[in-house]
Amino acid sequence: MRRETIINAALAIGLLAIPLWAHVTGEIFTITLSTRVAILALAAVGLNLALGLGGLISFGHAAYFGLGGYAMGILAFHAQNYDPIFTWPFVFAGTKQMLVIWVVALIVSGLAAFVIGMLTLRTSGAYFIMATLAFGQMLYYLFVSWPKYGGEDGMSIYLRNDFPGVNTLDPIQFFLICYVLLMLGIFVSWRIARSPFGLALQASRQNAERVETVGITPFRIRLAAFVISGMITGLAGALMADLNRFVGPTMFSWQTSGEIMILVILGGVARLYGPVAGAALFILLEHWLGGVSDYWLAFVGALLLLVVLFARGGLIGSLAGREVAHD
C-alpha cells in the first residue's frame, strides 16, 4: 500500500475515533472540536479542488462558505419566526430540515460560483486573486448592511435544524452527520481527480496552450471545477452555521477565505486528505496555543511560512513524500 494511503486512512479513522471516545468519556468539548475539524476540512476540500487541482488561487471562497451559512440562517430564521419567505406562487415558510437546507446551500453557492467564475476566470495570477477577493468582500458588505437578517450582528438560530431519524442536538450525532458529508466530499474529489475531467483540469493548470491544442477549452473546464468547488465549500458553510447555531457576516470576510486557504496549504495542496490534516492541525493549534497566548495566530503564521518555504507538500507531503508516477 502507498504510504499516503496509510496516512489518509489513519486520518479518517482518527477523526472518527477521537470524538467517539470523547462521547464515551463524556468530553463534549472534544466532540465539538472534532466537528469543527470535519466542517472546516470539508470547506477546504472544496477549495482544494480549485486551488490544488486547478491552480485557481481563489481568495474569495468565504463567499460560498457564507452563502451556505446564510442559506441555512435565512431558511431557519423564517421557519422559527413563522414568517414566510414568500407567499406567491405558494406559501414558503422556510424550513428546519437540513436536507432541504443543504440542497438550497448547494444551489445558491453553485450559482454564485458560476457567476463569479464567469467574471473572474478570464483573469489570472494576481488579478484573479484580487477579483475573487473583491466578490467575497462585496457579499460581506451586502450582509453587513442587510438589517432584516441581523446586519452586522448576524442572527441566532435557537434550535439546531432537523435530520430525519437523528437527534441533531446530540453532539456525537451531529458530528456523524458532518463526518459522513466530509467523507462524501473527499470521495467526490477523489473520483474527480482521476476522471477525464480531473485530467483536463490538472493539465489546464500546467499548460493551458497544450490543452487547447488537443481540442479542450481550459476556461470551461476551470469554470466547472470552480462551481463544484464553491458548492462543496457552501455545504460546509451550512454545517458550520448549524454547529454554531449562528450566522454572521464574518463568514464572508476575507479572513475566512484566508483561513480556508491556510488549511489547504498546511495540509498539502492537491493532496486528497490535505484539508483534513490541515484542519486538524489548525484546530489543535488554536486549542493548545490559544490557551497559551492570545496571539496564537502568529505561531500559525510562522508555521505557514515554514511549510511554504521548506515543505511544499504540506503535512501530507512531508509524511508521504513526493507523489510517485503510476500508470
Binding site: 473520483r191 474527480i192 482521476r194 476522471s195 477525464p196 475531467f197 480531473g198 485530467l199 483536463a200 490538472q202 493539465a203 500546467q206 499548460n207 496552450e209 497544450r210 490543452v211 487547447e212 491544442t213 488537443v214 481540442g215 479542450i216 477549452t217 473546464i221 466547472a224 508516477a325 503510476h326 500508470d327
Partner: protein, 252 residues
C-alpha cells in the same frame, strides 16, 4: 485535381510596420509532406500560429477540409483534426507519458466532462494511448513523468499527442529541433511513414530531413513565399539560393 486538405489564401498579417505575412498562398495536398523553410525571422512562426488559430490574419482566408476556418479558435480547429506539435516542447510536465497521450485522446473524443469515471482504468482509451506512444518509440516509458524525459523523448511525446488525435493534417513545428543526428534520422524515418495517415505541413531547419522527406517545399522570406516547388526546383532556384541557402552552398 485533388482537393487540398489545408489551403491558405492571400493571408496578410502585420505587426505595426513589420510585414510578418504578405499575401501567403499555400496548399497541403492529401498524402504529401509540404515543407516550409526560411531563415529566422521570415515569418514561419507567425504563419503557423495563424494556421493553428492562435493569431487571426489581418486579411485572407484559411480553409481546412474545404471549410473556412479563419474565424475559428484553436480548440475548434484541433477538434476538426488539426494535429499540432510545438517548436519548443509543450507537454504536461507533471503528467506521465501515458497521461499526456490520454489527455490528447480525450480531447479528440470530447469526453472531458466525465466527472466520475477513472480515466486510466478505461481499457480502450489507454490501449489507444499505449499504441500511439509505442509508435513513436515511447512504449517502455509510459509511467515516466514528462518532466523527467530527455529532450528527444519529449519531442516524440509531442508527436504521440498529435498522433492520438487521429488528425486530418499534421502541423509540425521543427520536430527535429535539438534531436541530434541519430534522433533526427529516426524522426525522418517516422515522418516518412506518417504521411500515409495524414499530410504534414513541416516547418524544419534540418535541410537533410527536408530534402529527403518533402514532396514540395515553400520558401518564406521577409513574410513572403518566394518559391514553391519540388526539392529539385527549390535547390536550383536562384532566388532561393540567394535568400536562404547562400550563394556558396554548392554542397547541398
Amino acid at each position: 485535381m485533388t482537393e487540398p486538405v489545408l489551403e491558405i489564401r492571400h493571408v496578410h498579417k502585420n505587426f505595426g510596420a513589420l510585414r510578418a505575412s504578405h499575401d501567403i498562398n499555400l496548399t497541403l495536398l492529401p498524402g504529401e509532406i509540404h515543407a516550409l523553410i526560411g531563415p529566422n525571422g521570415a515569418g514561419k512562426s507567425t504563419l503557423i500560429k495563424q494556421i493553428a488559430g492562435n493569431l487571426r490574419p489581418d486579411a485572407g482566408e484559411i480553409r481546412f477540409l474545404g471549410q473556412d476556418v479563419t474565424e475559428l479558435d484553436t480548440v475548434s480547429r484541433a477538434r476538426m483534426g488539426l494535429g499540432r506539435s510545438f517548436q519548443i516542447s509543450s507537454v504536461i510536465p507533471e503528467f506521465t507519458v501515458l497521461q499526456n497521450v490520454v489527455l490528447a485522446l480525450q480531447g479528440a473524443q470530447g469526453t472531458s466532462y466525465h466527472f466520475f469515471r477513472a480515466v486510466l482504468k478505461d481499457r480502450e482509451t489507454t490501449a489507444k494511448a499505449r499504441e500511439a506512444a509505442e509508435r513513436v518509440g515511447l512504449g517502455d516509458r509510459l509511467a515516466v513523468w514528462a518532466q523527467d524525459l530527455s529532450h528527444g523523448e519529449r519531442r516524440k511525446l509531442e508527436i504521440a499527442m498529435a498522433l492520438a488525435l487521429e488528425p486530418k493534417a499534421f502541423l509540425l513545428d521543427e520536430p527535429m529541433a535539438g534531436m541530434g543526428t541519430e534522433g533526427a534520422a529516426e524522426m525522418t524515418r517516422f515522418l516518412d511513414q506518417l504521411r500515409h495517415e495524414a499530410p504534414i505541413l513541416l516547418v524544419e531547419h534540418d535541410m537533410d530531413a527536408v530534402f529527403s522527406l518533402a514532396d514540395r517545399i515553400s520558401v518564406l522570406d521577409y513574410g513572403e513565399i518566394i518559391a514553391t516547388g519540388t526539392v529539385e526546383e527549390i535547390r536550383t532556384n536562384p532566388e532561393v539560393r540567394r535568400a536562404y541557402l547562400g550563394e556558396d552552398e554548392e554542397a547541398v
